[in-house]
C-alpha cells in the first residue's frame, strides 16, 4: 500500500468545557475509503472541520504529504489537495450551477486556471455526477439529490487527492443511493483517498475499507467493517439494543 496522503495525530478539540474530539488519529491513503460513524454530536463534523482548517485543533497535528498543515487556513489546505463537502449543502446561491463548479476549478489549485478552461472542466464534471444539461439553473432550482450532486461536483472541481464527504447521501431516496455509491467507488478506483461520514451504517460498511467509530469524541474502535459492526461496544453505544436484538435474531434464524 502506498504512503498515506493525510495523517492526523491525536487531534483534540475543546469548546469551552466540552471536549468535542479527543485524541483521534487517522490516516487516509490513495484508493482507500475510511468510513466514520457515530451518533449525533459524536464529533464527526468537528473532526472533518479540523482536517480542512475550518476549526483549529486544540492539540494534535494534521500532515498532508509530509508537510504540517495543523491549523492552516482552509484555502491552503484546499491547495494542498484536500477537498470536502459540507453536511449542509452550501452552494453559492447567486451563481449558476456551472459557475458554482467553475469556481472550484478556477481556484482549487495554487496556480489558478483561465476562465474558459475552468468552465470546460466544470461542464465535464457536471456530466460525470449526473447534472449534465442543468448548467444554467440556479442552485435553488435543484432537487435535494441534485443539490448533493452539485456539492460533490464542487469538491471534485478542486481536483483533490483527498476527499472528505460529510453526509453526501443524506436526504437521498433509496433509488438514488446506488448511483451515488457507484460514483464514490469510481473515485476510489481513480486513486483518491476518501473519508466518508454517514448515518446509513449498512450502506457505509458496504463501501468502506475500514470503519472508525466515534463515541463522545473518542475512537471507540476501528477496523474492517464487519468486525466493527459486530463489536459489542459499538452495538451497544451506537446502533442500540434494537439493532443488537435484530442481529441476534438473524443469526439464530440463518443457520442451515
Amino acid at each position: 500500500m502506498s504512503a498515506p496522503l493525510l495523517v492526523a495525530r491525536d487531534l483534540t478539540c475543546r469548546f469551552g468545557g466540552l471536549l468535542a474530539v479527543q485524541g483521534v488519529s487517522l490516516e487516509l491513503s490513495p484508493g482507500r475509503l475510511l468510513g466514520v460513524i457515530g451518533a449525533n454530536g459524536a464529533g464527526k463534523s468537528t473532526l472533518i472541520n479540523m482536517l480542512t482548517g475550518h476549526q483549529r485543533p486544540t492539540s494534535g497535528t494534521v500532515t498532508i504529504e509530509g508537510s504540517d498543515y495543523t491549523g492552516a487556513r482552509p484555502w491552503r489546505i484546499t491547495h494542498a489537495g484536500v477537498a470536502r463537502t459540507f453536511q449542509i449543502a452550501k452552494p453559492f446561491r447567486g451563481m449558476s450551477v456551472l459557475d458554482n463548479v467553475a469556481l472550484g476549478a478556477l481556484f482549487g489549485q495554487s496556480r489558478a486556471l483561465p476562465l474558459a478552461t475552468a468552465k470546460r472542466h466544470a461542464r465535464e464534471l457536471l456530466e460525470r455526477v449526473g447534472l449534465g444539461g442543468k448548467d444554467e439553473l440556479t442552485p435553488s432550482e435543484l432537487s435535494v439529490a441534485d443539490a448533493r450532486r452539485l456539492e460533490l461536483a464542487k469538491a471534485l472541481a478542486l481536483r483533490p487527492k483527498v476527499l472528505l464527504l460529510d453526509e453526501v447521501l443524506a436526504g437521498l431516496r433509496p433509488a438514488e443511493i446506488d448511483p451515488a455509491l457507484a460514483l464514490i467507488d469510481s473515485l476510489r478506483r481513480d486513486g483518491l483517498a476518501l473519508l466518508m461520514v454517514e448515518h446509513l451504517v449498512r450502506v457505509l460498511s458496504s463501501v468502506s475499507d475500514e470503519l472508525l467509530v466515534l463515541h463522545h469524541g473518542q475512537v471507540l474502535t476501528r477496523g474492517p467493517a464487519q468486525e466493527v459492526l459486530h463489536d459489542e461496544r459499538v452495538v451497544a453505544a451506537y446502533l442500540g439494543s434494537r439493532y443488537a436484538a435484530r442481529q441476534r435474531a438473524r443469526e439464530a434464524g440463518s443457520p442451515a
Binding site: G53, P74, W75, F92, L106, E136, L137
Partner: protein
C-alpha cells in the same frame, strides 16, 4: 413506497426540468462579449457629444454626475461585489484630495503626477487598515470604516502646517505660481468623464475575470469561498485597496477642481451616504447599477432642488424610501430577473425580497 406523491415532491417537476434542459447552452462567443461591452464606448461618445449641447451651469452639473458615477462604481467594488459595506469611503476621497493638495502645494508637484500618487497612497493606506478591518463583518465593518474616515478628518484638522487645518488649503492652480493651471469647466467635464469611464472599465475588467468570481463567492459565502481555495484575505484586501485608490483618484480631481478645500467638505459623510444609496438603488454587484443609480440620484436631486427649494431633501428621502421598498435588489438586478422570468410586477418583487 417508491412512488408516493410525497417522495416525488422532493424532485423538481420533470416537465419544468426538461424545459430548462432544452434551452440550448449559450457559449460565450466573442460576438456576445463584444455586444455586451458595446454600450460602454457608445455612452462615452454620447457623453462627449452632450458637452456641446450644454450651457455652463449644466456642464458643472453633469460634471458632478460623472464624479458620482466614478465614486459609486468604486464603492461597488468593495460594497457591492465583495459585500463589505464600507461606510468610511469618503475617508479615501478626502485622503486623495488632501494628498494632492499637499503634493501640489508643498512639493510643487504637477497635478498629473499628484493624482496617481494620491491614488497609490490611499490604496496602500487601505491595504494597511484593511488587514485588521476586513476580519469584521456586517455592521461591525461599517462602523469601523466610519471611524477610519472620522479619524482621517481629525488628523487633517490637527496638522495645520501641512493641510491648512480647518481654514482650508488652496491648490496652486491660478496665477504665476500655478503648478498646473486650472482646467476650466469644460476641462473638468472631460477629466471627470474620463475618470468615471476608467473606473467603470476597471470594474468591468474585474467582474469578467477570476477576481470577480472570487469577490462574488466571498459575498455569498465567505467560508465556502475559502473551501474552494480562494485566499479570501488577499482578495478582500485587494478589492478594498483598489476601491480606495479609485475613490482617491476622484477625490484628487475634486480637490483640483475646487481649488480651495476644507476638511468638512472633503470628509463629508454625506458623500459616503450618496455612494451607498446610488449603488443600492442602481443594483449592487452589477456593472451598470452604480452608473444608473448615480445618474438617477444626482439628476433627481438637482431637479428637485430647482423645483422645490424648500422641501427637496425631504422629497428625495421619501423617493429613496419608496424605491428601496419596491426594488430592494436594485434597478438593474430587478430588470435582469424580470426579463429572464418575464415577470414585471413590483408587488411580486417586494414579496420575493422582503427581509
Amino acid at each position: 413506497m417508491a412512488q408516493t406523491p410525497h417522495a416525488t415532491g422532493i424532485v423538481a417537476d420533470p416537465a419544468e426540468a426538461s424545459s430548462h434542459s432544452s434551452v440550448p447552452a449559450r457559449p460565450s462567443s466573442p460576438w456576445r462579449t463584444a455586444l455586451s461591452l458595446a454600450p460602454g464606448p457608445l455612452l462615452l461618445i454620447a457623453a462627449f457629444a452632450l458637452q456641446t449641447q450644454l450651457y455652463t451651469g449644466q456642464v458643472r452639473m453633469v460634471t458632478t454626475i460623472f464624479m458620482f458615477v466614478g465614486l459609486a462604481a468604486a464603492w461597488n467594488l468593495i460594497g457591492g461585489y465583495a459585500g463589505y459595506a464600507c461606510f468610511g469611503q469618503v475617508g479615501f476621497f478626502g485622503l486623495g484630495g488632501y494628498t494632492t493638495a499637499v503634493l501640489m502645494t508643498h512639493a510643487k508637484l504637477s497635478f498629473w503626477l499628484a493624482l496617481p500618487l494620491s491614488a497609490l497612497a490611499a490604496g496602500a493606506f487601505a491595504a494597511l487598515v484593511g488587514w485588521p478591518l476586513l476580519r469584521l463583518r456586517g455592521h461591525y465593518f461599517a462602523v469601523a470604516t466610519l471611524g477610519v474616515a472620522e479619524g482621517l478628518r481629525e488628523i487633517v484638522l490637527n496638522l495645520p502646517e501641512l493641510t491648512g487645518g480647518g481654514a482650508g488649503i488652496t491648490l496652486p492652480s491660478v496665477g504665476s505660481d500655478a503648478v498646473t493651471p486650472w482646467l476650466g469647466n469644460d476641462g473638468f467635464y472631460v477629466l471627470f468623464l474620463l475618470l468615471a469611464a476608467a473606473i467603470v472599465a476597471v470594474c468591468a475588467a474585474v467582474a469578467a475575470t477570476r477576481g470577480g468570481y472570487a469577490l462574488r463567492a466571498i459575498h455569498q459565502d465567505e467560508e465556502g469561498a475559502a473551501a474552494v481555495g480562494i485566499n479570501t484575505t488577499w482578495v478582500k484586501t485587494c478589492a478594498f485597496a483598489g476601491s480606495a485608490a479609485l475613490t482617491a483618484a476622484v477625490g484628487s480631481a475634486y480637490a483640483f477642481q475646487q481649488v480651495t478645500i476644507f476638511p468638512e467638505r472633503l470628509f463629508d459623510v454625506h458623500i459616503t451616504v450618496l455612494m451607498v444609496v446610488m449603488v443600492v438603488l442602481g443594483g449592487a454587484g452589477t456593472l451598470a447599477g452604480p452608473v444608473v443609480g448615480a445618474v438617477f440620484i444626482a439628476y433627481v436631486s438637482e431637479w428637485l432642488r430647482e423645483q422645490l427649494p424648500q422641501g427637496h431633501a425631504f422629497v428625495l428621502g421619501a423617493l429613496i424610501v419608496v424605491a428601496v421598498i419596491l426594488l430592494p435588489q436594485g434597478f438593474t438586478n430587478y430588470l435582469r430577473d424580470a426579463l429572464r422570468e418575464r415577470r414585471f410586477s413590483l408587488l411580486a418583487n417586494v414579496r420575493r425580497y422582503r427581509l
